[in-house]
């Protein structure tokens, strides 16, 4: 399974310390995200990644135990419509 962020032009982001407010243009909804969710979106901005690859990309900045630890956060982003899941290539 890979995860793809909503297109960059579909999102408006504002850092509000400690949250990041994200306006999702297609739905008109505002989401308040806390780390590592904004960083996950940023890491997915260049293209879809698996959870394992995402974990590797974020490992330097966060003390993540394993890729599965990101699964709950990813499920929330998918439920919010900010990320879509797709079959691995």
């Amino acid at each position: 399974m890979r995860f793809r962020a909503a297109p960059a032009d579909a999102l408006l982001q504002a850092s509000l310390d400690p949250f990041t407010a994200v306006f999702h243009r297609p739905s008109g909804q505002t989401h308040l995200l806390v780390s590592p969710a904004p960083e996950m979106l940023a890491a997915l901005a260049d293209g879809p990644l698996s959870l394992s690859d995402l974990h590797d990309a974020l490992a330097a900045a966060f003390q993540l135990e394993d890729a599965e630890g990101l699964a709950d956060r990813m499920a929330e982003l998918v439920a919010a419509g900010l990320v879509t899941a797709e079959p691995a290539a």
Partner: protein
Amino acid sequence: MRHSVTVRVGPAAFRVGADWRSPIEQLRDLYRDYPAFGGVPDFTVSLSAARPWRRWIRPSVAIGGDFTLPEAAPLPLAHGLLAAEMAMNLQMALGWRRHLLLHAATVERDGRALILCGESGAGKSTLAAMLHRTGWRLLGDEFALIDPATGDVHPFPRPISLKNSSVALLRDHGRWGSLLTGTPKGDIRHLIPDPASIAAMTRPAVPALLLFPRFGFDAAAREVGGSEGFVRLTTASTNYTGLGEAGFRTLTRLVHHVPMAAIDYPDTDVALTLIEELWR
């Protein structure tokens, strides 16, 4: 309708019609210092008999207009002015799209605006009236209108709706509307803004400080961060969701550029001292 008046406050004009003469005469008196308006109003408000016979027998005012809430209960004719003011607020809250609306009182000094944002009972109208008395220009006691293009606060200087003890506190100052006794919110009287505030009701101000006051607690002040402020203000806005992207951009700009603080106060003197300290 048999009786009507059109009033303009800041950028919004209202045509208020009624089955009875008295609420319209009270409105005319309340708004007699405001410039006459002969254009097309933004909103229409109607005060009509809840039932046909209620025009004469125990007269009862049903609030109507372009935007209504189905659960709004009729008021006795003696509170017709309150019904008109409530209906005008309702039009703004539900229908205004040209600005981001915050449920807040706003005053201005030296071109800079102080926004007092809080729920009913927080004391924003009383504080705005007290500050107005000490020389601040009144921008509004009910809604802060934030311009999506500039981020400025646009005046909406309606007469200040004061309740119960606040009426007594300020009774020696300014010109007042009729005293409305025994309303659902207690005794209510409207304090009319000074002529300078009315004359400047098309001149915006730059937001400089945003406070979240809370009445009935020991004096305290603390800084409010961006996240908390954003959440509080989305809750305090009647049209944030409706404005979509413009609302998001306007609110995030406000939160980024304007210092925010929460203040608790046991009485208005303490509040005014806290405000002056934070304003510096």
